[in-house]
Amino acid sequence: MNPEELFLVELTVNGNPLSARVPARRLLSDFLRHDLRLTGTHVGCEHGVCGACTILLDGKPVRGCLIFAVSVSGSNVTTVEGLVNNDGSLGVVQRAFHESHGLQCGFCTPGFITTIHAFLKENPHPTEEEAREAIAGNLCRCTGYQNIIKSVLRAAELIDSGVRDDH
């Protein structure tokens, strides 16, 4: 058997342009986690259901475990690490999770944060029901979601009050 053929992928990750050679079957989630060492993107199921691997592809939330790294050449990828403000302070959704006790073990959290970040761009003033719907594609086993919903509303409030968010 021959070693696997490698393909060139060129993309921007968290604002940094980069290129790499990867096997055709390398999942984007594995590429980010193990090749780029951006381990904030988590893998909870690898079959597209839990949402822990959610990243932003050109601003839209997608599941990193359902996409091959080679297929995102030319795109802009943002991971949870990329949502930290440029001065190192927490981004607004991250801060809202901290303030609202929106996480326990934290394993699902990056997927929620990326999802909510994109959602609030579309709907900056969600109702509680809209906030619930917005996170209804992500699984969390620890929190019972109550404080995650609170975090969505808190993030919206922080944005309104003009709190710094670079992304």
Partner: protein, 792 residues
């Protein structure tokens, strides 16, 4: 004054790291490590005839293929039976890799090590195993019938049998004015943490040392087990639990086969090796819980007082019993909850089945026991046409009867004695919060719109903080940084915050200066683990005791430095000062320098310390009964568990056409003694309730008759999303525990325990017919409705 932080909703210290992607979970480590993948049994019961690796051998990147035949020394022996018990007559454990027989789908047969996980999985695909497939035993009915045996040496499939009696329940029931019998069933479910298990090991050839990381609830347990298996001195093995993505019980088991095999391979190959469990593996090769079948006989008087309760139940323990029979033991003892039947008999039989093994899942046998007890109380109320809460109140243990000895032995081998609790007060609060007394008005209002609603109630008592012990270490660095360590592990409970709160208060330092490490045997080698809602009680108290030692030492040294009586001193914001005369003071970090008389002024604190003359020049610099360093270590080992309690009520609506259950309100009253951090306790309740809802309405393990788990993915196993989980309204009572210095009780499991019971109560109330099996899906409820109508 330093702001008091015990009892305050302090934001978590672990969060900034975790929300910014800087957490380090097991699979975030060891990017260069070799990867392991396992070939697992596709059959529930089979004899392995042959393993053919021919096609697999020339895959580039393959490092090694291992079967049982390759295992050496104690690695080839059966895995340990961790918790033996006299009632466990036929305990059985598996091997790290199957030795001739496989007894459940998912049992590991071959381990493949390769340059990366993709290659390792390719190799697994190319290995051919031939089997002689045997008739499996699936489900409690088949296990009882025993036409086939899971283990040939146990022909009746019975691993354990136990009978406990307090009074003569059978005679009391016979003589009782009223009797009822009930048959109940609870289905399997599983912890399902979002992060599966995982192990990463590095062998240091030069020093002959093993360092391993495991996504575990007990790093000390894993360390000891691995050292024993690999025949290494304990001192040569260190185990670290990194950030762990949830546990809920499944990660307290140890050693898992992979926890033995990965370190073994790392040493053999002298290369770092890592294995991360995937979701399917977690479903079929970790563990489940919950399946039990109960038969109940109960005798009671006109008032609904229980005179005799006789419970016979069967427990499905899966293919092996490495964790003993903790679950049925807990069910049998905690079933009674807040009630005091005049007599009680409980008999259980634990059965082998050809399914993945059964170990505690949050609640650990209590949800089943509470379901049995609460169904019984509801049945009595219905029979006597009494309000369900009235029957409960009449059977409650009263506050003035505390401490209350139930006459049973608890899971920790100690007498089952409730230390404190005020059940009538809890019930009054619950009724008030949920509007129990006005519910009939609400029911008619809904009925007028053609809507059907119901209300349910369920109570529980939970033994928490079981021994034997935990320890705590507290150290003041000369920089003013406070290091705290305890051996048990964290999986999201916020230990870095709550333990820091305790130390901040005990020591009088800002919480920002306190840094807590858990689950690292290099920092604290003696520990039991995180389970049974014990972490806050056990380590919390141990750490408080250690902090008090540090405080005493600091005051004594500061007293010498300031030439005053230590009793006149206080510590505020990290400064030791004379009460009432704040000009006389010394920083705690300077005291740390004084405690360690070195000759080098290497930092600012050291320089500052030189102005104080300490110690008696007639004595050595470190007096005989003392140690250098401003640090302390202590252990907490309680005489008995402390008992938390709570009551839940739920109001549901059942849709007429689809029989879907909609949750209108979910109310919780709980009492876990003094609360360190109410925000964190509430979070635990929310998460527990979510798992309770899940277990009552959604989650089950769908095994077919051949022992295949049909729903081994998140696609098919219905773990609820946010749209299925209600907003929890919580009320708090704080009855301090008299058993420990901080007066606290555990809170971790509480939320999940009454889940099935409270929903069964509400559904029965809405529909009018008996609910005896949980979980219940809309189609099952719809079907029940149809048959009830037909029979009517």
């Amino acid at each position: 004054m330093t702001t008091k932080s015990f009892g305050e909703p302090i934001l978590r210290k672990e969060d900034p790291r975790l929300v910014s992607g800087q957490g380090r979970y097991l699979d975030d480590l060891g990017h260069e490590a070799l990867a392991a993948a396992f070939l697992r049994s596709p059959h529930a019961s089979a004899r392995i005839l042959d393993i053919d690796v021919t096609d697999a051998l020339d895959v580039p990147g393959l490092i090694g293929i291992y079967t049982y035949e390759d295992l050496e020394g104690r690695v080839a022996e059966p895995l340990p039976l961790l918790i033996p018990h006299p009632a466990l007559l036929n305990g059985r454990t598996g091997y790290p890799l199957a030795n001739e027989f496989v007894r459940h789908v998912g049992e590991a047969i071959v381990m493949v090590i390769a340059e990366d996980r993709y290659i390792a999985e390719d190799v697994v695909e190319l290995i051919k195993v031939s089997y002689d497939v045997l008739q499996p035993v699936v489900g409690i009915q088949n296990a009882k019938a025993a036409h086939n045996a899971v283990h040939p040496s146990v022909p009746n499939n019975v691993s354990a049998h136990s009978v406990k009696e307090v009074g003569d329940a059978r005679a009391m029931i016979k003589a009782a004015p009223h009797k009822l019998s009930l048959d109940l069933f609870i289905e399997r479910s599983a912890c399902s943490p979002l992060e599966g298990k995982g192990v990463y090991a590095i062998w240091e050839e030069d020093s002959q040392e093993l360092r391993l990381w495991s996504s575990t609830q007990t790093s000390t347990g894993v360390r000891a087990a691995v050292a024993a298996k690999l025949d290494l001195p304990l001192q040569k093995v260190e185990c670290i639990a990194p950030d762990v993505g949830g546990g809920f019980g499944v990660k307290i088991m140890h050693p898992w086969p992979e926890e033995v095999l990965i370190p073994w391979a790392a040493r053999k190959l002298n290369r770092p090796v890592k294995w991360s469990e995937d979701r399917r593996e977690h479903f079929i090769s970790s563990a489940h819980e919950r399946a039990q079948e109960h038969h109940i006989e109960v005798g009671f008087d006109e008032e609904g007082r229980i005179l005799g309760l006789d419970v016979t139940f069967f427990h499905d323990n899966g293919a092996y019993t490495p964790y003993g029979i903790i679950i049925p033991l807990i069910t049998s003892t905690q079933l009674l909850g807040p009630y005091k039947p005049a007599s009680y008999r409980v008999e259980f039989t634990s059965l082998f089945t050809n399914t993945v093994l059964v170990i505690p899942y949050r609640g650990a046998g209590r949800p089943q026991g509470v379901f049995a007890m609460e169904r019984t109380v509801d049945a009595i109320a219905k029979y006597l046409r009494l309000d369900r809460t009235v029957v409960r109140e009449r059977n409650f243990i009263q506050p003035d009867e505390m401490p209350y000895d139930l006459g049973l032995i608890f899971q920790d081998g100690r007498p089952l004695e409730y230390d404190s609790g005020n059940f009538p007060a809890s019930m009054a609060m619950l009724k008030e919060m949920v509007g129990w007394d006005n519910f009939e008005t609400m029911r008619s209002e809904y009925a007028a719109q053609g809507r059907k609603i119901g209300i349910g109630v369920a109570c529980y008592v939970e033994g928490t903080g079981v021994g034997p012990y935990e320890g705590g270490f507290v150290q003041v660095e000369t920089s003013g940084r406070i290091n705290v360590a305890t051996g048990l592990t964290s999986q999201g409970q916020g230990h870095q915050t709550v333990f820091a709160q305790i130390v901040a208060d005990e020591l009088g330092v800002p919480i920002e200066d306190v840094f807590v490490t858990t689950g690292d045997t290099r920092r604290f080698p003696y520990a039991v683990g995180t389970f049974a809602s014990r972490a806050a009680v056990m380590s919390g108290n141990a750490i408080a005791l250690a902090a008090r030692q540090v405080r005493d030492k600091a005051l004594r040294l500061a007293g010498e430095a300031l030439e005053c009586d230590p009793h006149d001193l206080e510590i505020v914001d990290g400064i030791v000062r004379v009460k009432g005369d704040h000009t006389k003071s010394i920083a705690l970090k300077t005291v740390a320098v004084l405690s360690n008389p070195l000759r080098y002024a290497f930092d600012e604190s050291a320089k500052a310390a030189t102005q104080f003359a300490v110690g008696d020049t007639s004595k050595p610099p470190v007096p005989e009964d003392q140690e250098p360093g401003l640090e302390g270590k202590d252990y907490y080992s309680p005489m008995a568990s402390t008992f938390a309690n709570g009551m839940h009520a739920v109001i549901i609506e059942i849709l007429p056409d689809t029989a879907e259950v909609k949750i209108l309100r979910y109310v919780v009253v709980h009492d876990c003694g003094r609360v360190i951090n109410p925000m964190i306790v509430e979070g635990q309740i929310h998460g527990g309730v979510a798992q309770g809802v899940a277990g009552a309405l959604f989650e089950r393990m769908a095994y077919d008759e051949s022992g295949q788990l049909q729903n081994a993915s998140f696609m098919d196993f219905l773990m609820p999303y946010a749209t299925e989980i209600p907003t929890v309204e919580a009320g708090h009572l704080e009855t301090p525990s008299p058993l420990n210095p901080l007066g606290i009780k555990g809170a971790g499991e509480a939320g999940v325990i009454p889940g099935s019971a409270v929903f069964a109560s509400a559904i029965e109330d809405a529909e009018g017919f008996e609910i005896r099996r949980m979980p219940i899906s809309p189609s099952e409820l719809w079907e029940l409705r149809r048959t009830m109508k037909e029979n009517a």
